[in-house]
């Protein structure tokens, strides 16, 4: 009875706190500019199924893809076991579905156990890739400090979680063999694929009273880890396990080469090209001019901001970036990380000080430097590489737009190039009259 109450308090508290933080993230994402991504729903479902659910793009690099798939499959399938844990926790039962599901129960738990072992191995390999082998993209400078700690913390938490599962199942197995399990008075075996061997191996010589404690520690440890993990997500890069799905659903379905045309600019340019228009005429209901491009996170679209929360900092974008490979400052992953960090700061500020929040800082300048964004070749390698279709390029372009159109700041050669286009219709100083010269040369 007391344990049921304790469980309910823990479960409701954990769910409440997570919802509260998830809503904060939603609030922050919706601080972004409007962009319509609700068209072509069938294509969007297809993209989400293939890219997020099917992990299609992960498999361009097979080894991490297979390791990641073990963790992913274990995560998805273990959710089924969580149903029983909740039912048991609330009702005070033990293995509620054991008798009603029969051999299917044994199969499911065995399946989860096998996946858990694979995940355990995968997690150890992941830890060594980060800390021993030091795979280049996993030890770049933008990961120093919190991001590195965050990544290792998640991996260690996964090891602990899996250990709890085997404490629970392994101890229960030995208790069953002694006729002391909660599910049965007689002696026997659960027949779970891994714990029927692991249980006797680790716990065979331990007295039954201690075993009961170990089993309970495993059970409580498991649910506490799950709730703890859930509540850690909104603070962590690991939120991708949830946000990868909406992020891929709202993917940009256009050709990657297509950049947006700013509609406010079209209106202005049309006025300039219309000889019949009175330049001083105003119809009085024009919206106040918005900022061209992006200086801060609130100038970006909500999809850019969702991307930032969904990024799990794997660094495939950065490892494929031609600028980064040749030693330039630009790292597409850092663009996403900076966007997220700044968004958290702005979101907290707006919640505490209201819409007028201004700390004198901005994404461009305080987080991302001009040197970084001018190194981009717009080659789309980062967009192509991202396993969940995140688009760092559109952020880079919006930052450039702000610099050029609002502050007229750009490398001097580019000023010349643009002046040439405006004066003689080519990026170099040639006369339009000479365009056909090649015909007779």
């Amino acid at each position: 009875m007391i344990s049921s109450i304790l469980f309910l308090l823990l479960f409701i508290g954990g769910s409440f706190w997570f919802t509260k933080n998830a809503l904060k993230v939603r609030f922050n994402v919706l601080l972004g500019r409007h962009v319509d991504r609700s068209d072509n729903k069938s294509e969007r479902w297809k993209t989400m199924l293939l890219v997020a659910f099917g992990q299609k793009k992960m498999f361009t690099r097979p080894l991490p893809a297979i390791l990641h798939f073990c963790l992913y499959a274990a995560f998805v399938i273990t959710q089924i076991e969580l149903i029983e844990i909740i039912v048991d926790g609330v009702s005070g039962n033990h293995r509620f579905f054991y008798y009603s599901l029969g051999s299917f129960y044994t199969f499911m738990i065995s399946f989860i156990e096998v996946l858990s072992v694979l995940s355990f191995i995968a997690t150890l390999i992941f830890l060594s890739r980060r800390n021993l082998i030091k795979v280049p993209r996993l030890v770049k400078s933008e990961l120093n400090g919190w991001p590195k700690l965050d990544a290792n913390f998640i991996l260690i938490a996964e090891l602990v979680l899996i250990t709890f599962i085997f404490m629970m199942n392994g101890a229960d197995e030995v208790l069953y063999s002694r006729g002391l399990s909660h599910v049965s008075e007689v002696t026997g075996s659960f027949g779970f694929a891994i714990s029927q061997a692991v249980g006797p191996l680790f716990f065979g010589n331990i007295n039954s009273e201690t075993l009961m404690t170990i089993e309970r520690i495993g059970w409580w440890g498991h649910i506490v880890m799950v709730l703890g993990f859930l509540n850690y997500l909104p603070y962590s890069k690991h939120f991708h396990i949830v946000l990868a799905f909406p992020t891929t659903w709202y993917s940009n379905l256009e050709k990657k080469g297509r950049f947006t045309n700013i509609p406010e600019v079209t209106a202005e340019v049309n006025k300039m090209l219309d000889p019949t228009l009175d330049p001083f005429a105003t119809n009085g209901d024009e919206a106040p001019p918005s900022r061209f491009g992006a200086k801060d996170v609130t100038d970006l679209t909500w999809k850019n901001l969702l991307d930032a929360y969904s990024c799990t900092e794997c660094g495939r974008c950065t490892s494929s970036c031609p600028a980064n490979q040749t030693g330039k400052l630009l790292s597409p992953r850092k663009i996403m990380m900076d966007t997220r960090d700044r968004l958290v700061e702005v979101g907290d500020g707006i919640r505490s000080q209201g819409k007028e929040f201004n700390d004198g800082k901005s994404l461009l300048g305080n987080y991302i430097s001009e040197e970084e964004i001018w190194a981009c070749t717009s080659c789309n390698a980062c967009v192509q590489e991202c396993p969940i279709n995140i688009d760092p390029l559109s952020i880079i372009v919006d930052l450039r737009r702000y610099l050029v159109m609002e502050e007229s700041k750009m490398p001097t050669e580019l000023t010349g190039m643009m002046t040439n286009i405006e004066n003689n219709g080519a990026p170099w100083q040639f006369s339009p009259a000479d365009r056909g010269n090649w015909i007779n040369e």
């Binding site: 600019v265 090209l273 190194a375 737009r401 080519a426 056909g436």
Partner: protein, 264 residues
Amino acid sequence: MDSNLKVLTMSEALSKGEQVDILFWVGCSGSFDDRAKKITKAVAKILHKCNVKFAVLGAEESCTGDPAKRAGNEFTFQMQALMNIQVLNGYEVKKIVTACPHCFNTLKNEYPELGGNYEVIHHTQLIQELINQGKLGLEGSQTYKGKKITFHDPCYLGRANDIYEAPRQLIEKLDAELIEMKRCKTNGLCCGAGGAQMFKESEKGTKEINVERTEDALETTAHVIATGCPFCNTMMTDGVKNFNKEHDVQVLDIAELIANAADL
């Protein structure tokens, strides 16, 4: 140049009452850069050989605005776009071919929303079509037979527009041996010119991007580095010179390869 080659401008064609099926958008590089002009000529020769009724805009052509847009200057881009659209719509242009993936991408993807709706194809797609229709025969051509050719994917043709096969199929038509670089197609490495980088010095780093890419190409031991973009051509040519390999390795556009093989 071949005196039989006649290239009309749209205004000449209009005044002579000649029908034009396709506009050849030459682009700034193809008009003014001496190296790129050779690519332009190769395309014109192929079109002429295949009796394609084409014309150019000549002095009425202007930059698509691509470099301004990639550099963040939406005003200059849209000024160019809207002026070009007025000219193109004035001539009732339906179909455009271009040898520059940057012009191709801009005309195809960014002009429609501004009122410019045309069927836009890259020259490698058109040439492939012409060969498939039997209008251009390369049978028995010895020019590149057995030569090793590698293809550098221009970002604005490949990743930006998912066109990977047309240029490769043309290389196979040459009876040449197509050798892929370790990074190719979706995984291809940029030449370093895109996003307006062509017009500025690169940021401080440890290496130039075109040198990194040229290493990929030279590793294949190919005799020819083929491209489908005048800017990639410049970058790869410079890269090859950087390794003092310009006497061993040629950098050629697909159109030049086809024109050479067809003895045009």
